[in-house]
């Protein structure tokens, strides 16, 4: 392995990660400087249960009509995010435990997930370009973020065999993109995962307090029967 690739996989990633963590920390401090809304009413339900329900919403496609009615979209969402998870995992394992990718089945599994996520990325990009609704609400950042991730998955597919002795270019491309990614992410919509716990926490807390979450399906005991 060349010294360039070694530094790119190791020190450059650490610096980029540290940059991302720093920006995120500042971002969270910024967000927490806004006043907190206070709920001073007597609860009907449990804010904690509401928060738990709200957080778990992502894993309950049946609980939300938008997911329930668009199961293929939900499956795409799962594949896409599993692809992200696999790609991030690969960037952490490749530099420090390269032997892990000596196993062909493991390489194939990673390629499968990233390849599927790449396909979903393309579908999402096409949807964003062709749907009038999506075009209207999309910003350059939205297009670039999806395109960047999609390209990153493709690079990941080629980098996974980790055969730097054959050619270093797939790995240089993958880690180069990872660096760009880590630096760009805090300023883009990709950082929605940082906000997810907060939006869902706030919504869950309010709705849990009021007894709206967990959502009722019928058969629950009404108030007034105590």
């Amino acid at each position: 392995m060349s010294e360039f690739l070694r530094i790119l996989e190791d020190e450059v990633q650490i610096v980029a990660l540290a940059f991302m963590a720093t920006v995120y920390t500042i971002r969270l401090i910024w967000m927490f400087r806004f006043k907190a809304g206070k709920e001073i009413t007597k609860p009907v339900g449990s804010p904690r249960v509401g928060v738990a329900y709200s957080m778990m919403n992502v894993a309950m496609p049946w609980a939300m009509e938008s997911a329930r009615k668009n199961l293929s979209f939900y499956v795409q969402f799962v594949i896409f995010h599993l692809g992200v998870l696999m790609a991030i995992t690969a960037t952490l394992i490749l530099p420090y435990w390269p032997e892990f990718f000596e196993s062909e089945p493991i390489v194939r599994i990673f390629q499968l997930f990233m390849g599927a996520a790449f396909a979903v990325g393309l579908i999402r990009l096409i949807r964003r370009i062709t749907s009038p609704v999506m075009r209207l609400i999309s910003t350059p950042d939205d297009y670039f973020s999806v395109a960047l991730l999609t390209a990153w998955f493709a690079a990941g597919v080629f980098a996974m065999p980790n055969q730097y002795e054959v050619s270093e270019w797939p790995l240089i491309l993958f880690f180069g993109m990872t660096t760009l990614f880590l630096i760009y992410v805090p300023f883009s919509k990709i950082s929605h995962y940082l906000y997810y716990p907060f939006t869902r926490y706030f919504l869950g807390k309010t709705m849990g307090h009021r007894g709206v979450f967990p959502r009722k399906k019928g058969g629950e005991k009404p108030a007034g029967l105590e």
Binding site: F34, K35, T41, K42, V133, T139, D141, T199, R210, V212
Partner: protein, 477 residues
């Protein structure tokens, strides 16, 4: 019925109508003179003022909703405006929320301040832009929160719309109807400008009606009686247009042997602050109610049938008024369940033989906690109850929510998008649609008339009163 669709630019470019504002200024309306209700001033730097107010009004909750949207577009399939107008992408909730989000990004957020074009960040240029913003947030969203509950990220678009409405209200850039109702609320303590004299007279009239019906001259609607079990609060619409609903409630309380009262002031459980986004007005109206209960030493506050009234009085009002909830408050539905369950009143379901479906008010189902309660009652007071689909917190808005009924300029669009609700109602095949909200009664009645549905709107209390078994000695001979 017409299949014509509204040209949306006709809606978003509606001019700011200032007739009522001018009238209020000429008449030296106290709410305007005291600065409680703001009038539009073209000589002020309204854009700058809006930006300053935005900064001060933001909370962690709203900021998380402003930064959290990924523009996935899932909300477009949950909104009745977007579903009824699939050809019109501007009906997408994310687009509506983006109208304030792009201002936030340009003025407050990072990336938007440095690279505005990259994230479509921009501030309004002039008052015309603010007027356009007014037409979007007041005219194309009923704040039903259906998109909120269907957002994978948990972005509360309805809260962002309300936030924007509140900013515009502070500048007097509001629909005429909103201005008038806000003014009336401040000046009379109720949103329909009902005078105390009219209120008392209406109660006395209903008292006589019930006395005649029960053949019981001793029946009273107690006003300002202290130390009762509960204080009953109503919607001004009941006083003005539907007083029989008060009579029904009073009759039921009487039959249950209840100790109750109504306040002479602080009786309006509705709250236009929820719709105009004016937290100060919201706090004022809610506080009137809470103070009345305290003054009368009532043990509970019972809120008559109204979705936004329940949400405002039971939930938001305490927060707006920063008022500690020392007296419990409940919907009259819960009071009715208690009476039926404890055998304090007897009901005969065979007296309501027509097929009945139930419409969940958005504010009861998605912003309150009442979905099973009305159904529990309905199962006991009618013989043919059939669900509407979707229902409970997935139900569609009556299309008259968010103060839409007071904004006549947006009625054509409101009626057009009501097709979603009309189809939902029609599919039930029911003869009656029951709801527990006065606002929904009017919203549903409008669309039933327009779409020529063979259906009538009733409320739970109407049906309870019909099913009520009155002991023979009380029945009019």
């Amino acid at each position: 019925m017409s299949d014509k669709t509204i040209n949306i630019s006709d809606v978003v470019n509606l001019p700011l109508d200032l007739k009522e504002q001018k009238k209020a200024l000429e008449q030296k309306s106290p709410a305007v003179v005291e600065g409680k209700v703001k009038v539009y001033d073209p000589n002020k730097d309204n854009v700058k003022n809006l930006l300053e107010m935005l900064k001060n009004k933001l909370s962690r909750q709203t900021v998380s909703s402003l930064v959290g949207c990924v523009h996935c577009g899932m909300c477009s399939e949950s909104c009745h405006y977007a579903l009824a107008r699939p050809h019109d992408p501007t009906m997408t909730p994310a687009y509506k929320a983006d109208q304030i989000r792009q201002i936030f990004k340009r003025y407050i957020d990072w990336t938007g301040r440095i690279f505005p074009w990259w994230v479509h960040a921009k501030t309004p240029k002039n008052d015309e832009d603010l007027n356009r913003l007014k037409n979007i947030v007041f005219g194309t969203c009923s704040g039903c929160r259906r998109c909120t509950l269907n957002c994978p990220m948990g972005v509360d678009t309805a809260v962002l719309v309300r936030l924007t409405r509140g900013l515009l209200t502070e500048l007097g850039i509001v629909p005429e109807g909103v201005f008038v109702v806000d003014k009336d609320s401040w000046e009379t303590g109720n949103q329909m400008g009902v005078s105390q004299e009219d209120y008392i007279e209406t109660l006395e009239w209903q008292e006589e009606e019930v006395q005649a019906e029960l053949d019981d001259p001793s029946f009273k609607i107690p006003i300002d009686k202290e130390d009762c079990d509960f204080m009953y609060t109503v919607n001004p619409r009941e006083i003005k247009y539907d007083p029989r609903s008060i009579a029904y409630a009073c009759k039921v309380f009487h039959m249950a042997g209840e100790s109750w009262t109504m306040p002479s002031f602080g009786w309006d459980q509705t709250n236009f602050g929820l719709f105009s986004g004016d937290d100060k007005l919201g706090g004022y109206i809610a506080k009137n109610l809470y103070e009345a209960a305290k003054r009368l030493r009532a043990k509970r506050i019972v809120i008559s049938e109204c979705g936004h009234g329940y949400r405002s009085s039971r939930w938001e009002g305490y927060n707006w008024a920063k008022y500690k909830q020392d007296i419990p408050s409940e919907s009259v539905l819960i009071t009715l369940i208690r009476y039926i369950n404890q055998g304090l009143i007897k009901v005969d379901p065979s007296r309501n033989p027509l097929s009945i479906t139930y419409h969940d008010s958005c504010n009861l189902a998605r912003s309150g906690d009442l979905t099973e309660e009305p159904r529990w009652i309905l199962e006991r007071i009618c013989t043919d109850f059939r669900e509407m689909y979707p229902n409970r917190s997935d139900n569609f808005c009556c299309t008259g929510g968010g103060g839409a009924l007071s904004m006549v300029e947006y009625k054509p669009l409101r009626i057009e998008v009501a097709k979603v609700k009309a189809d939902q109602l029609k599919a039930t095949g029911a003869k009656l649609v029951c709801t527990s909200c006065h606002n929904c009664v009017d919203g549903l009645s409008d669309l039933i008339k327009h779409y020529k549905l063979d259906m009538q709107v009733v409320q739970i209390l109407d049906l309870v009163a019909e099913a009520l078994v009155i002991p023979e000695k009380n029945e009019k001979k």
